[in-house]
């Protein structure tokens, strides 16, 4: 009986590994992080961002407070687009283009929705195509908000 369970587990693991290999070529696990940087009399660092606060200060010069807005992970198929809303009508779109063993090619968009008449229209603020090593966060941002700026990090696996 125990042998049967062990065999089942092994088979399950092997099947899962094979499935994951096949899936990793067809989809990616994408993580999008949104950060709100502000200048405050009393600095505040979100506990989730404490480890990278020094790097954030180097890029967002002059800002001393960083709050986590979004931290989401989704499986996105190659060629499909995932849009993640951020703050003040800003959103981030990601589209996996290609997946290799240790890196992936993705297209990133910063967009902002503006109301024009009765319609809500998306403006492409920044379009970026890059190849990135899996498991690494790519930082970008600087989008002006009413108070502070918006930045984000994105990683794929």
């Amino acid at each position: 009986m125990i042998l049967a369970v062990a065999a089942l587990l092994t088979l399950s693991g092997a099947t899962r590994a094979a499935t994951e290999t096949a899936d990793s070529r067809q989809s990616l696990n994408v993580t999008i992080i949104g950060i709100h940087a502000t200048k405050e009399a009393k600095p505040f660092i979100d506990p989730a961002l404490k480890a990278i606060s020094a790097e954030l200060r180097k890029r967002a010069v002059g800002y001393n407070s960083f709050r986590l807005l979004v931290n989401l992970t989704r499986t996105v198929a190659i060629g499909k687009t995932w849009e993640c809303p951020m703050k003040e009508d800003y959103a981030r779109q990601v589209q996996p283009i290609k997946s290799e063993a240790d890196k992936a090619t993705i297209r990133l968009l910063w967009i902002r929705y503006v109301v024009s008449g009765r319609k809500r229209k998306a403006q492409e603020k920044e379009k970026l195509t890059l190849s990135i090593r899996k498991g690494k966060y790519f930082l970008s941002g600087g989008w002006k908000l009413k108070k502070g700026v918006l930045l984000g990090a994105i990683a794929v696996q």
Partner: protein, 227 residues
């Protein structure tokens, strides 16, 4: 000698255990008393039938089952073994005494497992034995609690299935977990290759690449000239 005294000696008389004096006294009473004579006659008939009766052989497996059931009963784990019907012997009318179970008077409340043990079909001895009603032994054995073979296998299988589900769930969570936010997980120059970049005309772009150990980032600044 009166009837009461005679009745006390009848059993010994039938068995031939009385002294010659007692025999003479009782014989004198029996010549006079038809009722006591009938009792002696009945006892002798019973003795004769019993002497000619041969108990059906008991199989080894029957002894094993009875032994196990009795052991379980002694240990308080099982129900008593019951012989519901005793062998019938022609010439002896069944009485409530003979129908009583050998071991226990109370039948068990649950539906019992009844096993029939037929007696041998024919007996070679005597006309009475040939015409005898086939004997039947009904043994009632209650299922013993706490001794259910292979039940542990069900528990093991259940636990294994639960562990499998949990392991697969954890594996799914693990594969979908985001990389930790740490300095060593921030992309550096060797980790990123910019292939295409377009920005809004209202913003200037700063591409931080720095040296190999520097974190790569794209930073935008509002373009003051655009107004």
């Amino acid at each position: 000698m009166d009837c009461d005294e005679a009745k006390q000696m009848l059993a010994g008389y039938a068995d031939g255990e009385l002294s010659s004096l007692e025999n003479e006294g009782l014989a004198a009473h029996l010549e006079q008393c038809g009722r006591c004579r009938q009792i002696v006659h009945d006892q002798q008939r019973i003795q004769h039938v019993l002497d000619s009766y041969e108990l059906p052989p008991v199989q080894d497996s029957d002894w094993n089952n009875i032994g196990k059931a009795l052991k379980a009963e002694l240990e308080g784990k099982g129900e008593p073994v019951q012989l519901k019907t005793r062998p019938r012997i022609e010439g002896l009318d069944p009485t409530p005494e003979t129908q009583r179970p050998i071991v226990s008077a109370e039948p068990p409340p649950p539906v019992p497992i009844v096993r029939e043990v037929p007696a041998p079909a024919a007996r070679p001895r005597g006309a009475a034995a040939a015409a005898r009603t086939p004997a039947m032994t009904l043994i009632t054995v209650r299922p013993r609690k706490g001794r259910q073979p292979f039940r542990w296998m069900a528990h093991v299988a259940g636990a294994a299935a639960a562990a499998l589900v949990v392991a697969m769930g954890l594996a799914t969570l693990w594969t979908r977990a985001a990389p930790p936010l740490a300095p060593n997980t921030l992309a550096r120059q060797d980790d990123v290759a910019i292939m295409e970049l377009e920005t809004d005309a209202d913003y200037s772009v700063i591409l931080y690449t720095g040296d190999t150990n520097d974190v790569v980032a794209i930073w935008v600044e509002p373009d003051e000239s655009s107004g």
